[in-house]
């Protein structure tokens, strides 16, 4: 499976250095190594979801309890989370660190990923969610750290888009 192990390790290590102690996830191909690393890490609480919107509530509960968390999801999972993001995270000023695998961009071969890919960034914009791309290993660590700083300072959701050039080795 040509999902990049080294870049997944880079992302996971960056999350650990941000003192993330809890992650929620729903499997998707590009996230396979990240989820396995969280599963293998005795210091990480990994919550395997039935649907991504649950992760918004779980991260909110963790925040209320003083624990930093991250959410691993595909962009269609972001679409499935929007009411929780708006009605819970925005309403109660809950920081969310969302790592969204950005399917459906240039290079996508699966027709079923393309619709969600086309609306991901417009939805982030319309929801007022700050986001940045992770598409080069050189900026992974700094962008994850900066994203978490903004989420904690603004007390709002932020998104990092895990892009094909970083996650997939053709």
């Amino acid at each position: 499976m040509p999902v990049s192990v080294s870049n997944s390790e880079l992302i996971y290590g960056s999350l650990k250095s941000c003192e993330i102690d809890l992650m929620s996830a729903l499997p998707e191909t590009w996230l396979v190594h990240l989820i396995r690393m969280a599963d293998d890490d005795p210091e990480m609480t990994l919550v395997r979801l039935a649907k991504e919107e649950e992760g918004v509530g779980i991260s909110a509960g963790a925040h209320l309890a003083g624990v930093k968390s991250a959410m691993l999801m595909q962009n269609h999972g972001f679409l499935a989370s929007i009411n929780g993001i708006v009605s819970l995270a925005h309403l109660y000023k809950i920081p969310l660190l969302m790592l969204i695998s950005y399917r459906g961009e240039f290079g996508e071969r699966d027709p079923w990923q393309t619709q969600g890919g086309g609306v991901t960034v417009p939805l982030l914009d319309s929801l007022g969610i700050p986001y940045d791309r992770l598409d080069d290993p050189h900026h992974v660590q700094s962008r994850i750290r900066k994203a978490q700083h903004l989420a904690d300072a603004a007390l709002k959701p932020v998104a990092l888009l895990l892009c094909r050039d970083l996650m997939w080795e053709e």
Partner: protein, 199 residues
């Protein structure tokens, strides 16, 4: 056989909420779901460890799960209406899978979306949420049929480390009061009760 209004005795949500508050200590976190679940929690006894949901229907159980995982020494109770539980039904499977020993879900089931005019939910026709919870791996799941059984179930939930689900069939009496509606005030009061230092 689905329980119908003809063959079950319905209890008072306000009364049962008061009974729970009489059984827990100050450190217990209670998440009150949207609508009458939270309203009755407030009316029965406002306390720093109460978190009142506004909006975000279906998120009370996930919030309780996140809290229970983040503070495993703390007892966490979620009080949620059946309409909200039905909206995020998959989260019962997530609770069953993660199996936090300190989380109890109390479902107030009056078989209707009460605040919107009393339209019948699936539990009034076909669905038994205590069986659903059990099927999702929440082994300690039951549906007490009277107040004594309810108190026994709550006592067992507080004593036995396991996720618990208690589905209480309640009437449709509206709550007598409502909490203040500023979500940020609610949040910070609750976070202080959870031991968070606030700037």
């Amino acid at each position: 056989m689905a329980l119908t209004s003809a063959n079950i005795q319905r209890m008072s949500r306000a009364d049962l909420t008061s009974r729970v508050l009489g059984m827990v200590d100050d450190d217990t976190a209670i998440i009150g779901g949207i609508g009458n679940a939270g309203f009755d929690l407030f009316s029965a006894g406002d306390r720093p460890g109460n978190f009142y949901m506004l909006g975000s229907m279906g998120m009370a159980v996930p919030i309780g799960l996140g809290l229970a995982l983040a503070q495993p020494e703390r007892t966490v109770i979620v009080m949620e209406g059946e309409g909200s539980v039905l909206m995020t039904l998959g989260t019962l499977a997530t609770v069953g899978r993660e199996a936090p020993p300190n989380l109890t879900i109390i479902v107030w089931d009056n078989a209707q979306w009460q605040l919107t005019g009393g339209q019948t939910t699936a539990t009034g026709v076909a669905t038994d949420l205590s069986v659903v919870a059990q099927g999702c791996g929440i082994a300690n799941s039951n549906a007490p049929t009277n107040e004594t059984e309810f108190e026994q179930a709550v006592r067992y939930a507080l004593d036995a480390p396991s996720p618990h689900a208690i589905v209480a069939h309640i009437d449709a009496e509206p709550a007598s009061g409502r909490p203040h509606d500023d979500p940020i005030v609610t949040k910070y009061q609750f976070m202080q009760a959870m031991g968070q230092q606030l700037e």
